[in-house]
């Protein structure tokens, strides 16, 4: 897609490492966010990559909702992960799980990015009385954050059928036809994917 963005000074243009193999990342699938953050604090680059794979889309989604344009949102993603690398040592597992800590880091980075372009401080623009208020917006943002994070935790074949059904506008039989798999397989994967999401989102389901 050829995108480029203004990288913060801590991230040189074109900075790359050899990507970790899919198999290696698969091994990290069952590791908790908190454990990954603690490993990042010890400068474990594989843990950092695994966190990025889990959270790039949730952070980007949050930044898009707050900032409203892709270029600034992409900058905010970069700044969020720079902040995670810098401040992972401050994460205290006894004070909570990893996801809320990451959410707070992302929110701060996004607010900073908004300030740097002159946005007024606060949660967002003033809203008409019949629109959801800042609290409702914040709650909706956090739910989206958790759901998008959970989607990243699904095996690819389950995520595909879920995304096609929920966000691709296809019926079950159309998903089967599209993926060229039996309808029964679509139903099995959908149910398994929903079950796995329910496990991953246990906190939100209570």
């Amino acid at each position: 897609m050829g995108l480029s963005y203004a990288l913060p000074a801590a991230m040189p243009y074109g900075a790359r490492r050899e990507p970790t193999s899919d198999d290696a990342l698969e091994i990290e699938r069952d590791v908790s966010d908190g454990d990954l953050i603690r490993r990042v604090a010890r400068r474990d680059t594989r843990a950092f990559e695994a966190l990025y794979r889990r959270y790039a889309r949730p952070v980007f989604g949050l930044a898009l909702r707050r900032l409203g344009d892709r270029m600034n949102a992409e900058d905010a993603v970069q700044e969020t992960f720079a902040a995670i690398w810098r401040s992972a040592r401050t994460y205290a597992p006894d004070r909570g799980a990893g996801a809320p800590w990451l959410y707070a880091v992302a929110r701060n980075a996004i607010v900073d990015r908004g300030r740097s372009r002159g946005d007024p401080p606060g949660e967002g623009p003033e809203l008409p009385a019949d629109e959801p208020g800042p609290d409702e917006h914040a709650e909706a943002s956090y739910v989206s954050w958790r759901v998008h994070r959970a989607l990243e935790g699904l095996p690819g074949n389950e995520r595909n059928v879920i995304e096609l059904a929920y966000y691709g506008g296809l019926s079950q039989s159309e998903v089967a036809e599209f993926l060229n798999i039996p309808l029964g397989t679509v139903k099995t994967r959908t149910r398994a994917g929903l079950g796995r999401l329910a496990d991953l989102l246990e906190g939100e389901l209570r």
Binding site: M1, A10, E74, A140, V147
Partner: protein, 206 residues
């Protein structure tokens, strides 16, 4: 808010009540969260903090980037942003008059796609909805083109897009008289950075 797919169709009737409620809660969160954003290909690369990089791999800082490269990258970003915005702000369905199935060539055997062709509007534009999965994510500066073919050769470009992980849904438009082209004659070509001719066909009709 989008109501999402029919829950009963998704999971069937033969699920125990307790499990059914758990799945329904996950279903409602998926609907509430809405679709996760597509990441730009540039964001698929982990933004390594400088201190995590081996010294030999360090590159120029942003201020040292060549102006022309930056202008081209920004122009690409604007184009892709428009396409993504166009795709995501519209419905993920059209009233399809014809559906063309596309299959990956030897260059990308895992790729599949469906192209729905809508009704021609009063200005002579044919709306199209392309759903694709399995295409490789291209390096920065690369992109995919959808072409109409004549006698099997890509002749007329119908749009440019890129893909993320999972399923990508893109709205495109053809402004040609389709009778001058092959029936169901659409192919997708891959344009790697620095290449500007439709040589690498990665998807062709089944």
């Amino acid at each position: 808010m989008n109501r999402g797919p029919d829950f009963d169709e998704l999971v069937g009737k033969d699920v125990p009540a307790e499990e059914r409620e758990r799945l329904r809660a996950a279903h409602e969160l998926l609907v509430q969260a809405g679709p996760p954003p597509e990441l730009s290909p540039g964001m698929e690369t982990v933004p390594w903090p400088e201190e995590a990089l081996p010294p030999i791999r360090r590159r120029r800082t942003p201020t040292q980037r060549r102006p022309l490269v930056r202008v081209v990258a920004l122009a690409s970003a604007a184009l892709v942003g428009f396409l993504i915005g166009h795709a995501t702000t519209n419905s993920t369905s059209i009233e399809a008059r014809r559906t063309v199935k596309l299959q990956g060539t030897k260059l990308d055997r895992d790729a599949i796609a469906s192209l729905e062709l809508g009704k021609k509007d009063s200005n002579g534009n044919w709306p199209m909805l392309l759903r694709v999965t399995g295409l490789q994510q291209l390096p920065e500066g690369g992109y995919y083109d959808l072409y109409l073919t004549r006698h099997g050769k890509p002749i007329a470009k119908c749009g440019v897009f890129n893909v993320g992980r999972g399923v990508t849904v893109v709205r495109l438009s053809a402004s040609y008289d389709l009778k001058h082209f092959d029936r169901n004659g659409w192919v997708v070509t891959r344009q790697l950075p620095g290449h500007h001719k439709p040589t690498d066909v990665v998807l062709r009709p089944v």
